[in-house]
């Protein structure tokens, strides 16, 4: 995760929300358990929701599958 952490921190530093959607989505895919995965997917979803990103619906569906929205 360290490389991903670095890329996330860099995306936050430049306030690159499109990248945050992608990177948090990636973190959600690689997390070890459901809670951690949904934590990251939530962040991806929220940034996608804010910017009207086309992935918002699919991220919402992934969270809904686990009863998290």
């Amino acid at each position: 995760m360290s490389d991903l952490d670095d890329r996330l921190l860099a995306a936050h530093a430049r306030d690159d929300r499109r990248a945050l959607v992608t990177l948090y989505g990636e973190a959600g895919m690689t997390a070890n358990d459901i809670d951690a995965s949904c934590f990251y997917l939530t962040h991806a979803y929220i940034y996608a929701l804010e910017m009207g990103h086309p992935d918002a619906d699919s991220l919402h569906a992934r969270l809904a599958k686990h009863g998290r929205v």
Partner: protein
């Protein structure tokens, strides 16, 4: 003889005998607070113009008498006004004008709202990765919407939510200017300007209402708009202002003029009217352009005047537009020393509110009487609640 600051009977007397509002209404912070509730929050006050949010998703944070508000054009195109705070911890939601592409995200814990104010996401509210909780019902926690109404492109708000509908309160004025109920186009960046004025907002209203001062303060108007060419407009309890019988269009090279609004009656060929919509909106209606001035009451002694010029066609000559804006800026700047001078005059302890010309000052007294009536009604309600 100075009157007691709470005695408004002299203000409400007939014009011939009336005095103006006591000094306290212009200088006392406590009276400003009382007038916020009695006058600004209880009526339909001007906040902004719809042209401030021309496209869907445009959002502008504003303050009105200390209240943080958010002006937004929602995804469906409806202009709305919300309290600019998250329902979670009261954090300010939007800090600078921006386009909302998707949702309004609170910068604190990222609760998200639709442009129509609906709460749509509460991340981690039930713990990390758990975005719901039975105690947090989204349908109950939408943004607090402020009652609003748009007329003459002006966004009017009723903060306390108790005023009669705008169309009822201003039925007379809507009928009076029915001919202008047609598309009007903001001239854009060169047709808006702000004036910072060291005065209570009411003095700007009072000065605008009357034509008495025109030959003295605006001598440039004399050649084509003499005092005797004006008439008073006074609708007690509603609005007041002045009209002219000799409006002349601005002319550019080769006698170029702005296009007229459609289907106006003959009255408007040489007529124009200038009305103060109480408490804080000043409007001008003319055959070829209109203007809106929102008076933003910052403190009891400071006001920002937001001026906007409108045309009958979305594409008018840029040069003419600039000349017109320059002309009006000059006229409105000529009024500044007057309203600032009257403000400073309110520090004189013996001033009794002044007297009114029974012939010339009816529109100004009409406004004083309305303010006094609002304050009296507020005090009566407050006493009844005790």
């Amino acid at each position: 003889m100075a009157t007691h600051p709470n005695d408004l009977s002299a203000v409400r007397a007939p014009l011939e005998n009336a005095h103006g509002l006591p000094n306290a209404h212009y200088v006392d912070p406590a009276m400003f607070e009382e007038e916020k509730r009695a006058v600004l929050f209880a009526s339909w006050a001007g906040l902004a113009v719809a042209a401030d949010v021309p496209e869907n998703g445009d959002a502008v944070p504003l303050e009105f008498a200390g209240i943080p508000l958010l002006l937004i054009r929602d995804r469906a195109g409806q202009v709305r006004v919300f309290e600019n705070i998250c329902r979670h911890r009261g954090m300010i939601l939007v800090s600078e004008p921006k386009k909302i592409e998707g949702a309004i995200r609170c910068p604190y814990h990222s609760w998200c709202y639709s442009t129509a104010g609906k709460l749509i996401s509460t991340p981690h509210v039930g713990g990390a990765g758990h975005n719901t909780h039975p105690a947090i019902v989204k349908d109950d926690l939408g943004l607090n919407e402020v009652r609003s109404h748009i007329w003459f492109d002006t966004v009017f708000i009723n903060i306390d939510g108790k005023a009669d509908p705008f169309e009822v309160v201003h039925a007379d004025l809507l009928e009076r200017w029915r001919e202008f109920d047609q598309p009007m186009y903001h001239g854009g960046a060169d047709s808006r300007f702000d004036l910072q004025v060291e005065t209570n907002f009411k003095l700007a209203v009072e000065n605008y209402c009357e034509s008495y001062h025109l030959p003295w303060i605006h001598p440039g108007l004399n050649s084509y708009s003499r005092l005797e060419d004006h008439y008073n407009i006074a609708a007690p309890g509603k609005y007041s202002g002045q009209g002219t019988l000799v409006y002349r269009q601005l002319k550019g090279p080769d006698d170029m003029v702005f296009p007229d609004f459609a289907n106006l009656s003959d009255k408007w060929d040489t007529g124009a009217e200038y009305v103060a919509v109480y408490p804080n909106v000043l409007l001008g209606a003319q055959r070829d352009h209109c203007f809106v001035i929102i008076l933003e009451p910052n403190t009891q002694t400071t006001t920002t005047e937001h001026v906007h010029l409108y045309y009958a066609d979305p594409k008018v000559s840029e040069d003419m537009r600039a000349r017109n804006a320059h002309l009006w800026r000059g006229v409105f700047e000529e009024d500044i020393f007057v309203v600032e001078g009257m403000q400073r005059g309110r520090a004189a302890p013996s001033f009794d509110g002044g007297r009114f010309s029974p012939v010339m000052d009816g529109p100004t007294h009409c406004f004083h009487d309305w303010v006094a009536g609002c304050v009296q009604a507020h005090r009566t309600q407050a006493q009844a609640a005790e």
